[in-house]
């Protein structure tokens, strides 16, 4: 089992998730964050911390979102770890409103 970041994170990158991760699982590129499944200890802390509901445990993903498991696994190997909060991307607040959060 692991937790997985999905499409709601795209273009938002509120990094609330990063500060609550006890083991620094989060990786980041220009558009979003990814969880390294090799490091994640399933504490579940990040999911309620994300203001746009982007994070789910793998077993709870809808069928059309399951591919995010592989995306997270792959991108986590290709991108750097972030251990502290980043400023949200421009337009993040608008996107949060658009997502109805």
């Amino acid at each position: 089992m692991t937790y997985v970041v999905t499409d709601n994170c795209r273009g938002c990158r509120y990094t609330e998730c990063v500060t609550v991760c006890p083991v620094e699982c989060f990786h980041v590129d220009d558009t979003m964050t990814y969880i390294d499944p090799e490091n994640c200890i399933d504490c579940g802390g990040c999911a309620p911390a994300c203001p746009v509901g982007a994070i789910e445990p793998d077993y709870r993903l809808a069928a059309d979102k399951k591919f995010w498991i592989d995306v997270n696994r792959k991108r986590a190997t290709e991108t750097p770890v972030i251990s502290a909060r980043l400023p949200p991307l421009p337009g993040a607040d608008e996107r949060k409103v658009a997502l109805g959060r």
Binding site: V20, P22, C43, C46, A47, G53, R60
Partner: protein, 436 residues
């Protein structure tokens, strides 16, 4: 050393919040050292003595703590109780900042008659006992009864119910303390009631922890149909996946299969009124949401209704919230901040959140410390002079390498039994292991 004078920070407590505050301080780039004081010879707080033995993946968080302990400027000072072996004022004289990270060690009472009867326990005592905490290892739990009641619908209540529902074989390969495994192996408990005062949607436990009840080898889980209506399982917020999953699990438990020898029964809408019995626990009286009364027979009760911080001499206490009195991490009397005294984790915010919540919390406290350091006047005493005096007062000051030796010895003992570790459960045994 050139540049600004080096500052010294003391952190009291080696649970998650103490470690994450230390990490944020040491990563800040400011010239400072962190001395972490811990009452026990062993670190990690509730990660060692709270987190359930059958949740080993979570305990891997300890490797993050070990990485923090290896950062330059960090020192572990174990076997020292602040408020007892040395005072908070002594620390404040020697350190530019003192951060309390002492957790929430006291179980909240139910406040109903009969709580002191034999057979009535707190979840806090039971958890510390099965996890081998030296101050609790000698407790006695008489599991020679058919029925046990767990009061409360939080994740700790689920831990207690699950440990009672598991067989010795399901626990044997965890790091559960040997004394606990022996008693649990002889347990006669066949029915475990997990009783909350709210409905299914109000339960504080999380879906992931509830899912563990699907996997029990020898216990069926059910919801008592008298307590619920089908509407209780309809989520008010259908876009909240956590709530949706929790209610669908509980709905599934309300159509129970009873094929296994043990039963875990979730009860809703029942507030405890009194614990009754002649000489020991025999029944608990509850008041139902509908104002009707119900007595449930049981030989054992574990109340799991939260915790509060133990006061430390010399630190103002907020009795209402059950934490060291503070304004956003700065210890304060009313709104008046006490210079150089801070708090983080459960002793700052109360007992809530996951382990990682203490990381954000520790970062915030570290920011307050760093903001104030520049204005601190030099201290009259130094950490090294204080530690030299302390050495004469305690049996042994335990360093991180000493702990590493205890850790290795526990793992070696465990390996012989097919367990990740066999904990030492007395302080003399811990101290002996570091010299072996």
């Amino acid at each position: 050393m050139t540049g600004p004078a080096q500052h010294h920070v003391a952190v009291i407590g080696s649970g998650p919040s103490g470690f994450y505050t230390a990490e944020a301080l040491l990563r800040s780039g400011a010239p400072l050292t962190v001395d972490m004081f811990e009452r026990l010879p062993v670190p990690y707080g509730l990660v060692r003595f709270g987190v359930a033995p059958d949740h080993p993946k979570l305990k891997q968080v300890a490797t993050a703590f070990d990485r923090i302990a290896a950062m330059p400027g960090f020192r572990f000072i174990g076997g020292v109780t602040v408020g007892d072996d040395l005072t908070v004022d002594e620390l404040r004289n020697a350190y530019d900042a003192v951060v309390l990270a002492t957790g929430a060690e006291l179980s909240r009472p139910l406040g109903i008659p009969g709580e002191a009867l034999p057979g009535s326990h707190t979840a806090g005592d039971f958890v510390a006992w099965y996890n081998g905490h030296p101050a609790f290892a000698d407790l006695r739990f008489d599991l020679d009864h058919e029925a046990a009641i767990v009061i409360g619908h939080g994740n700790v209540a689920l831990d207690v119910a699950r440990i009672l529902a598991k067989t010795a074989d399901e626990l044997r390969q965890t790091d559960i303390a040997r004394h606990a495994l022996e008693i649990l192996a002889e347990s006669r408990i066949r029915r475990i009631y997990v009783v909350g005062r709210g409905g299914p949607a109000q339960a504080k436990f999380t879906a992931k922890e509830l899912r563990d009840f699907l996997e029990l080898g020898e216990a069926d889980t059910s919801v008592d149909g008298r307590d619920v209506t089908p509407d209780d399982f309809e989520p008010q917020r259908p876009d909240d996946p956590e709530l949706v999953e929790k209610l669908s699990l509980l709905r599934a438990f309300s159509q129970p299969a009873t094929t296994k020898p043990r039963r875990c029964v979730f009860r809703f809408g029942l507030s405890p009124v009194a614990i009754k019995g002649r000489g020991r626990v025999e029944t608990i009286s509850f008041r139902h949401r509908s104002e009707t009364a119900e007595d449930i027979a049981c030989g054992l009760v574990f109340s799991s209704v939260g915790r509060k911080t133990a006061p430390v001499a010399g630190v103002p206490y907020d009795a209402h919230r059950g934490v060291h009195a503070n304004v956003d991490g700065r210890v304060a009397i009313g709104r008046t901040v006490i210079d150089g005294l801070y708090v983080c984790g459960w002793s700052k915010r109360g007992p809530n959140g996951t382990i990682g919540t203490n990381r954000g919390c520790g970062i915030a406290t570290a920011e307050a410390v760093l903001a104030d350091l520049a204005d601190r006047r030099p201290r009259p005493d130094t950490p090294d002079a204080l530690l030299a005096r302390l050495a004469g007062r305690v049996t042994r000051i335990v360093s991180y390498p000493d702990w590493t030796a205890i850790d290795a010895a526990e793992k070696r003992r465990g390996a012989l039994l097919g367990k990740p570790r066999e904990k030492f459960v007395t302080i003399p045994d811990m101290l002996a292991a570091m010299d072996a």
